[in-house]
Symmetry: C2
């Protein structure tokens, strides 16, 4: 098995996790949870999304969350990332002090249309506009539906490669390969990532797996074997459907970290302290915790 | 990736799953569930355990369940397997018409003592006695704690190899490599199975993974890559602790089958019909269903 000594993790719970929670989470609770994640070792956090509150009311406090967390963190080296759907969001994220923005383009035309009401080409043009407007903004390009589209549009790997190359040529810090609907199989992950990394170095890529069908960690293992060393996950496995217990969301940070540690792969995350974050989430967030390690973190 | 075209699955829900359910499941309900599993394509079922009802009251109807299911199945080719802890259980299982028995010896002395109050050597002697008494009984030797012991006893792979060889020399049909406490990491699975299969053909082995820490499918993937083609799983992911939702038990048959099918690996199992088994379990069994695919089976 081809395993690295250390990997990086982006904690996406405060963005991808929280945005799927129906009941509003108080701003002060969000901030407290994020601070506890930093205490648990998180070095890269997708902290919020500068999306119109009409579409995602949960993110209406994006500015306040980002500004407050930035103040609290002080000079600790933590990358605060904000997702933005468009130029307006990018401007707001920069104003509030985001270190990095995540800009999403779906590799499926149908999904991109449904998600941001643009063609893929229009989305790239908007990204160019963002760069013109914001100057040297550090950005990550997320390629949604890399491993499967909810509208069953076939996404050829050549398109993923082309989009990734275009993103890198525009200066993207990282390219995210996102399994938006949790449908990737290990074989698909192997085939797609090995094709991509024939043409570009694996160090440019981050995987974003959902655990909808329970294959999240198996897919991560395959990505590790293909030399990917950067992963996104959400504490507590947040991001699933609150009405279907067991229908998990993002891969859970604690499940991911436990698997990595059990193979002697270092992360910056302390599993015991992650257990404390989960306790706080249970107290403050009305969403079931569906990860496997949630109750076992403190026993490791 | 080194993947087979077809694999075999032993459905262990009626034994390993049910025995962890606190409330008694009515005998007629057990039988109905097992019959539905057969309808869903199960060809190998660990149907019950001939253990003393004082230790596992849930299994007090072992004889009745086995006899009734055998009658219902008629001449359909389904292997009915019964777990036995000792010679007495083996005799009862044979009398009731089990096709195959599973006999468990733990690779950890401490766990074997706790489980059956015998040394490993005494357990092998009992197996010899069973063979003398029962003649040409078809048996599977399950090596509990192959990948980790709850008492932290270190189990050298050389001991697993020695025990497996001894089992095969005694005529074992299969050797089960069991991750009794769900602590195996993919790296551990790789290391142990690759060592074992240097000395014996992979076709002798069946893996039995628990999903306690969410690594069950990742571990299965590694085993597949090491040429294992025979897996145990429990419908609904039964076998977990009923007081800790998310603390999963056996890997869920539906999660396993979905992963295999999504990589074009054939099984005998129909995912849609497995969804019907799960509906019945929800109705009849007081235990949470914690698998990922439980609510998605019928959408595949």
């Amino acid at each position: 098995m081809n395993l690295p000594k250390k990997v990086k993790i982006v904690e996406v719970g405060p963005r991808d996790g929280f945005q799927n929670v129906k009941d509003f989470i108080e701003t002060k609770d969000k901030i407290e949870i994020i601070k506890k994640m930093v205490d648990a070792g998180a070095k890269h956090i997708e902290i919020t999304s500068f999306v119109h509150p009409k579409w995602v009311p949960q993110m209406k406090d994006a500015k306040e969350v980002l500004e407050e967390v930035k103040d609290c963190i002080g000079d600790r080296e933590v990358e605060l990332i904000a997702l933005v759907p468009n130029k307006y969001g990018a401007l707001k994220a920069k104003e509030a002090g985001a270190h990095t923005i995540t800009y999403v383009i779906s590799a499926s035309e149908a999904h991109n249309k449904a998600n941001v009401n643009r063609t893929i080409e229009e989305s790239f043009k908007e990204l160019e506009d963002i760069q013109k407007e914001l100057g040297d903004v550090k950005f990550r390009l997320a390629l949604a539906t890399t491993f499967g589209c909810p509208f069953n549009e076939k996404v050829p790997t050549s398109r993923i490669i082309e989009m990734a190359k275009r993103g890198l040529s525009m200066g993207a810090d990282k390219i995210l390969l996102a399994d938006t609907i949790g449908s990737a199989s290990p074989l698909k992950v192997k085939n797609i990532i090995s094709e991509i990394t024939k043409e570009m170095s694996p160090e440019h890529f981050v995987t974003h797996f959902h655990d909808t069908r329970g294959m999240g960690l198996a897919n991560t293992l395959v990505a590790l074997n293909e030399n990917i060393t950067y992963f996104e996950s959400a504490v507590g496995g947040l991001g699933g459907c609150p009405f279907a217990p067991g229908a998990a969301g993002n891969i859970a940070t604690e499940d991911l970290v436990n698997m990595l540690h059990s193979m002697s792969i270092e992360t910056d995350i302390d599993l015991n302290k992650t257990g404390e974050v989960i306790d706080l989430i249970r107290e403050k967030v009305k969403s079931p915790i569906v990860s496997h390690m949630a109750s076992l973190c403190k026993e490791q």
